[in-house]
C-alpha cells in the first residue's frame, strides 16, 4: 500500500497533467498566445516609431505573421470536419509570411 504522501503526489501530478492537457486543447490557450503576439508586435512597432530602435516593423510583421498563422491553423485543425479550407488557408498564410520573411533576410 503506497504512503499517503506518494498517493497524493501522484494524484496531484495526474491532475496537473490533465489540466495542462485541457489548457492546450482549449481555444483559450490559442487565443492567449495570439493576443500575446498581437500585443508584442504592437508594442514593438510603437517603440520603433517613437525611438527608431528595435526590430524593423516590416521584418517583425513578416516574422510574427508566420507564427500567428500557425497558431491560427492549430485553431482551425480542430474544426477541419466542418471545412478544411480555413485550416489550409492558415497554413498557406504561414507559408506566405515565411517566404516574405526569408526574402527580406536574403536581400538584407
Amino acid at each position: 500500500m503506497p504512503s499517503p504522501g506518494t498517493e497524493s503526489e501522484g494524484r496531484f501530478g495526474h491532475k496537473r497533467m490533465s489540466r495542462l492537457g485541457e489548457a492546450l486543447a482549449s481555444d483559450g490557450m490559442i487565443f492567449f498566445m495570439l493576443a500575446v503576439v498581437v500585443i508584442e508586435a504592437t508594442a514593438l512597432i510603437l517603440w520603433h516609431r517613437r525611438t527608431a530602435q528595435g526590430p524593423d516593423p516590416v521584418e517583425l510583421v513578416s516574422f510574427m505573421g508566420a507564427g500567428a498563422s500557425l497558431m491560427t491553423a492549430m485553431f482551425f485543425v480542430k474544426r477541419i470536419k466542418k471545412s478544411a479550407l480555413p485550416f489550409a488557408s492558415a497554413l498557406l498564410s504561414a507559408l506566405v509570411f515565411h517566404v516574405w520573411h526569408m526574402s527580406l533576410l536574403w536581400t538584407r
Partner: protein
C-alpha cells in the same frame, strides 16, 4: 503605402465609367425589384397566382440567381468606379486585399463562430467557398467599403498620417456596420443565412451578453465582429489608397452615396414588411445619419477636388442622379 497613388492614369477611363454606371443601374433595378417582391407578393402565404408551374419556376430561378446577380453587379459597379477614379493598380490592390481579409474573417466566422457568432450561409447567395462562405460576401464587403470610405471623404478631414487613417478606418467600419442593422434581420428572415445561437443560461455573464440573440436572433458579437473586421479591412484599404486620394478622387462624386443608399433599399423594405418594423426604423436611422452627413457636409477637400481631368465623368454621374 504599398503602391504609388500618382500612378493612376487609365486609358479606358470613359469606358470604365460607362461600365460602372450600367452595372450600378442594373444593381439598383434588381435591388429595387427584389425589395418590392419581398415586400409584396413574396410575403407568406404566397398568393395563388404565384403557384402556377411557370411562376414557381420563375420564382425558383430568381431565388437561385437573383441575390448573387445583384451582388455581382454591385461589385462590378464598385470596382469599375474605383478603377476609373484612382487607376487599375490601386483599385485591384484594394479589391484583392479586402477580398482576402474579409473572406478570412467570414471563413473563421462560419467555421468557428469567431468573431461574429455561430451562423451559416445557405446557397441563396451563390457558390460557397470551402462549403462555408458565398463568393459574393467578400465582394460585397469590398464595394460597400468603397462606398463607406467615399462617404468618409465627405465628412472627415484628410491627412495621411497613421492617426488619421485609423480614425477613417473606425468611421468607415462604423458606417459599414450601420448597414447590418437592417440587413441581418432581413437576410435571416429570408433564409440567406441562419443563426445557431447556443443555450447560454449557465455561461459566464460576458458570454451571455455577447452571444445571446438579442436583436432578431442576432447576437451582439455580430455587430462587434462587423465593426472589427470593417476597421481592419478599411485600414488595409487605406494603407493602399490614402485618405487624401479618397477625398480628391472618390468622394466628390455621388456614386458612393448612391451605392450605399441602394444597398439599404432591400433590407429596409423587407424589415418593414416582414413584421420587423423596429429593425426597419433603426436601419433607416443608422444608414440615414452617415448618408445625410455626407450629403450635407461636403468637405472642403471634396469641394476643392479638381474637376479638370474627370470633368465629363463627374458631370454625367451627377446628372444621372446617382
Amino acid at each position: 503605402m504599398l503602391i504609388d497613388p500618382s500612378a493612376t492614369s487609365d486609358a479606358g477611363a470613359p469606358r470604365l465609367l460607362r461600365i460602372a454606371r450600367l452595372a450600378f443601374y442594373a444593381h439598383f433595378a434588381l435591388s429595387a425589384f427584389s425589395g418590392i417582391a419581398f415586400a409584396t407578393f413574396l410575403i407568406p402565404p404566397i398568393p395563388a397566382w404565384m403557384s402556377t408551374p411557370t411562376n414557381i419556376k420563375i420564382m425558383a430561378f430568381s431565388f437561385v440567381w437573383g441575390g448573387q446577380t445583384t451582388v455581382v453587379l454591385g461589385a462590378i459597379a464598385g470596382l469599375a468606379f474605383l478603377t476609373w477614379a484612382i487607376g487599375h493598380r490601386l483599385a485591384l490592390a484594394a479589391f484583392a486585399v479586402s477580398f482576402v481579409v474579409s473572406l478570412g474573417a467570414e471563413l473563421a466566422g462560419t467555421a468557428s463562430g469567431y468573431p461574429f457568432g455561430p451562423y451559416s450561409y445557405t446557397t441563396q447567395l451563390g457558390y460557397l467557398i470551402g462549403g462555408l462562405v458565398p463568393f459574393n460576401i467578400p465582394t460585397s464587403w469590398f464595394y460597400m467599403l468603397v462606398a463607406c470610405l467615399g462617404l468618409c471623404g465627405r465628412i472627415l478631414p484628410a491627412t495621411d498620417d497613421s492617426k488619421s487613417r485609423w480614425w477613417w478606418a473606425f468611421v468607415g467600419g462604423a458606417v459599414l456596420t450601420a448597414w447590418d442593422v437592417s440587413m441581418d434581420p432581413a437576410m435571416v428572415k429570408t433564409t440567406h443565412w441562419l443563426w445557431h445561437n447556443p443555450d447560454l443560461t449557465n455561461a459566464p455573464w460576458l458570454w451571455r451578453i455577447l452571444g445571446t440573440g438579442f436583436y432578431f436572433e442576432m447576437p451582439l458579437s455580430n455587430l462587434l465582429g462587423w465593426l472589427l473586421t470593417g476597421i481592419i479591412v478599411a485600414r488595409l484599404m487605406l494603407a493602399i489608397v490614402p485618405p487624401s486620394v479618397w477625398v480628391a478622387r472618390v468622394s466628390p462624386h455621388r456614386f458612393p452615396l448612391a451605392l450605399y443608399a441602394t444597398n439599404g433599399i432591400l433590407p429596409i423594405l423587407i424589415c418593414f414588411r416582414w413584421n420587423m418594423v423596429l429593425a426597419g426604423v433603426l436601419g433607416t436611422i443608422a444608414m440615414g445619419i452617415p448618408l445625410y452627413a455626407a450629403w450635407r457636409f461636403d468637405s472642403a477637400a471634396a469641394r476643392r477636388a479638381s474637376p479638370s481631368s474627370r470633368a465629363t465623368g463627374v458631370k454625367s454621374i451627377a446628372i444621372s442622379g446617382d
